[in-house]
Symmetry: D4
Subunit: 226 residues, 8 copies
């Protein structure tokens, strides 16, 4: 571990070897200075993909100061370095945003899956209030190895999608909605209670977690599988 | 008020005149003896419809002892007297049960609407995990003046139905489901956050309330309406 | 769908045909730029009413830039276009605000019902702490086909009003109140537990939903009703 | 302290001297044997009033074995010894039960106030769904020095009563109601958020606490008051 | 009602006659303009005491513009007009603040009781972590007709005080504390569960409600009391 | 649909064709009679696997009366028919039970995955209080295509396992634990907040859902995957 | 591990060596047969102390069948084997039960500490409603190296005790109380928010955890301490 | 008590004598002026250690104006005076921060323990997602007399650490994490449900409380201990 992050972080650079996926840097609880120091520390390892998630403007500036060519998706509050994602392998990850307000979180999921080595597609604004919209995209959904569905409010879309496809659905609740959504609690509970089986729930607004899980589900099958 | 209910109940026999709908007797918190005394008291008023809701076997026996010809729907835990519902008026009330386990509560709603003077129809087991089932009943749904949808688990069906019809949907959450349904909290929140407008939510497992509200919505329009 | 909203929204312009009511644009989770692009897209459809709800000052400016003659009710955080509401039909919608602090949400409900084609009336500051105030308005309440009641704090007014009228009451909880109101949870629960039947609950501070539901309840009865 | 309660209880026999009110024995968490031993211990102190609250049938039998002339109100799950309440002093305590199901808890409050030395009156089944019932009892309410209001469901009655009288209202939430009453949480929150000031809230189903508080409020004014 | 508040408020100027206590103006949900208009409207009634509660700096300025001699207690976020409280009557109200952080809410309670006509005293920083502090003030507490106890964190002080005095304790939970205080939920629940009877709980941070209730409890006894 | 289930259930016999997995019959909310009728209805379709979950003794008897050779795992409260699971395909599903009390739910997951066509292995009693136990099974864990981890109490084991393997972990919270586990809420929240990515959460005690999701994740990769 | 517990439990017999304290067997989620098999398995290790906690009558019978001389404290629902506790070392553990209803949990804590090798003392029924009771036991409290305080309801006693002694207080919330105690949530939150520092909170009704923690705190100081 | 803090604070300067530990000044709810006045008041007592916790920049400036040589740890939002901690005694306190974002709270715990007279060590970024990191520090952990573990998210680390050491673990939940961490509720519940005994839980983000408790646990054993 480089000396300049000692005292506040213990980078897990061996994680790619151990788990097959690199570590991400969750910026929200760190100062821009700490994030910048980590960015400097990973510069020596272009063989690993490093994601900086929940990166506000000051975090992004600190990263870009150290890694000027990092890819920055401001809507998703995410940076990736090296900027070019790995050559895709495994199955297709389709990311669905129920409404426009769910897009930032959906994009975080999509970028994460992409930088972890998967092909990705995005479908937007297909909430259950107009079923014809999701039914119109059935062919796209059925080409996926896993579908990520980001939804706030009633969180009903993952149930509906899971009832239409054979593959797992990663349900990503968002904090979008009126008062009784309680910051995402309503869609979270709805997704945990999905009446269609095959729904894998992650934390509220946790696009990174959803994308990571989707990438693992869609990973190339190991040799030993039947 | 008859003397023999004095001390524990103040029957609101004028309610039909005042509100247009009779009072119901909620049995759950009353002793069989109290329920029986109320049944005896209403015997003198066959001009009013009296519903006994949440009536367990002992409550039902106490009612039937006083009103032997009362209609008893044991699945719905409900008795009605006089046994014959009024001649139907107003629009059609369609009651939908998402799953078999939601049937008792759905039946309570249906019987309530029927004894308050509406035509009713029942549709069962059309949860969103198999959308083709609800889509196959679209014509039935579109003939309704109001649709009651009873659902537990993810509570997603009212959103889906509301997106398909022009009339109001009364959303009736049930306490059916695994642990994180938290006794009906999950579908309740989902219904309050329905992404399709036009959803009227009532209390968990409150079939009586749902049926009453539906009867009011489907009531014959007063003369003054345009 | 116009090209310039592709990528973040899928306008449901067929919704009026399908459901009889137009789609609304919920601005809170969208950027002013996105809202402006949607405003531009609907300009070609003056035959449809479009509502922009939860519109902050920047959202409003973006809409007015594209649709300068849109009606803007800043208190209700709502814009409507075309500015002139449709000719009213169906029954009267009476909107009641329990206290002055409930007015913005109550106005959102009223404007929604009005732009969906209903006659509306507003009654303000008639909380249950002074019953004489609501009793004094009984005649106004009894002329309604549906009453919307916006209330925070104890959320007691919908119960009281529902006990006084024959028509449905749409209960609209607001986030007004001291600490243990928990952002509207207290009135929401009170309304769900209303001891008078005939109460239809919507989400906290969701004036749009309340107005939409009221408009549907007060809609002209279809030909087939008895 | 008598030896035979040593090991599980430390009777506070000096409490009447210190606080002016005797200790009560909460039976719910104690074995019948423990309750009986306490009953035996207080037999030597007929100068103190002892209340046994939340006494199930076995607790009651154990008390009556030791104190055969104790007064037993089975509905209120309460025993009092000596059986004759003290000569009443101070103001009148009026206890109101919103519905029949609230009666047991209301009776516990009434008996407690009576055995602590107050005059009491009971009013039953005057919920806000039929306002005329509570308005018809206004004269009775206005003679009180304090009103205890027991209500479940929406918990709206204390707000309404507090808006009609000058004296404090003790709000006693009960666990009566459908699912979203959440065991009394809904009326508890409603009462804490009462829009009329002058409402003193106690614990759910805690009739003893409500009666005790009411007795204190209605106590004879000390000499020093203006 | 003066014309210039029509449209947003219905002043209850008859409340003093009806209930014996004047109405207060809760500023938090109102605009400074609305509050100013109400201030102007009450100027014609110096015979009534008007309290403006939860008044931020802009609310205060709006009131003082209309009623320049109003009494302003900025710590308590409260204004009173006319500035001179009524001649005190009834018993003494003692207000206790468990810690320094509870002082603003405690002062709101004290000012309310004072302007409703009671003598008041304040005791500060006597939390249960140092019992000697509250025991040292026992004589002061025992002179009261009612004690208001404002406390955050564990909310333990009302239980302790109620165990030491014969009169009712108004328990006023505050939102002071670390994370698991959950905005005052922890002391609120503790107070509702006070193991000493005689505790009357009000809403979190609701100093006005606590002071009003205390004033009613300590009111001069009506003629009819024994 | 056979006539004898009409009225309470709409069997989705086409689901295997549509989604690739058969429907399961959730017995908990159904009467033994209803479950028996469904069992009779599926007897004509030995080409489909039918699972009966949450089957109490009476449900099991009703199933076995119709399908005497059904496989019954009483610990898992599950029956399967036809009794012989399909020939396994895809990757290995390893099911881990953190403690002995988590075994019934873990077995439900294992049986579900097995009857949906996967190879399965069970590891028991390897909670994080003794890390050496889980570390000793690392080789077994690393042969899996997906790991299901059932845990109550602190729900920490999925985080630990996810940090040790490359494949997804299905986190299955159980309702095992002391009071503040709140019926499984504590492990549910812990799993949603797992600090290691790659954790897919399902509902509390929902072994069926966990096993179904695991079977989908470990399904043979479709031809199109890279 | 003996063969006969294979399949459902992995005994951690090395735990005494590793952690210095033996493993306990939590019976609540296990069948009597499983508990009996574990009892048989530990019979070969009389050098280790084994505790069986939350043992109902059937669990106890199963243990006593295998280990007839085991010590059985039925009130505490606990068995210990070998029956004689180790020779005490370290500091004194004082266990305080706020009320009689808290005794079973307090006894579980006391027995656990005793069988882990500490001297113990029990103090009962010293709740804060009568402060003189706890103040009278101050000398006993001050001889302790750690005090365990079991309390339900307002959970105020740990704060009070922690303010009186120099040593840590283990706060053990119990599920004793009226409705708004919410199964121990109220005292749990109060204890977490104790205004006196030095309070270590454990799970609701977890007497075993409290006793174990107390035993560790009062353990003989290792050689290296200053 | 100095005059200039009268009116808002009652300093407990005798607390060191009574409890062995000095009082701390919780700044969050106090104005800078109040904090400064307290700082001035303690200047006369350099024999006592005074900690100012939760001190924002303005609080810190006010303290430093009165006590210019006070030690200020801005990351921990804490000041100490006199600046030099007492000579350490008792056992070692090891403070562990699961992640970088937990560092501020962990530092508050460490500084508190240090100024209360203990030796301290800090270990950072050893979350359970990479078990090798915590296992690598086992020797450091085993030298402690008590370990403080600060963790957000799943709160799993205290369970893991408690399973590895013989001494008590003080579990300090932090408010770090995605939506369903609910401001620290998730790790708080996980820690209360730790499957390893020996875990003492404190309030969310309450580093001061954790450090104080740890200092008490690691205090020199009194003479009387065996």
């Amino acid at each position: 571990m480089p000396d300049d992050v000692a005292g506040f972080a213990e980078l897990d650079l061996g994680r790619t070897a151990r788990r097959g996926y690199p570590e991400a840097v969750y910026c929200a609880g760190k100062s821009p200075g700490q994030v910048g120091a980590i960015a400097a520390a990973v510069r020596a390892r272009p063989d690993l993909v490093t994601l900086f998630t929940r990166a506000g403007p000051e975090h992004a500036a600190a990263v870009l100061h150290e890694l000027p060519d990092a890819h920055h998706d401001a809507d998703a509050a995410l940076l990736a370095w090296p900027p070019r994602p790995p050559e895709p392998a495994g199955g297709l990850v389709v990311v669905v945003a129920a409404g426009t307000s769910d897009l930032p979180v959906a994009r975080e999921a999509l970028q994460t899956a992409r930088y972890l080595g998967r092909r990705t597609e995005l479908i937007v604004d297909v909430g259950v209030a107009g079923l014809h919209r999701v039914l119109a995209r059935l062919d796209d959904l059925r080409r996926a190895r896993v579908v990520v569905v980001a939804a706030g409010m009633d969180g009903a879309l993952p149930s509906v999608v899971a009832g239409l496809v054979a593959v797992p659905v990663v349900a990503l609740p968002t904090s979008v909605g009126y008062g009784a959504a309680f910051g995402g609690l309503a869609p979270l509970l709805a997704m945990l209670n999905a009446c269609a089986p095959g729904v894998a729930v992650v934390n509220i607004d946790n696009g990174y977690g959803a994308g990571h899980l989707a990438a693992q589900i869609a990973a190339p099958a190991p040799a030993g599988d039947a």
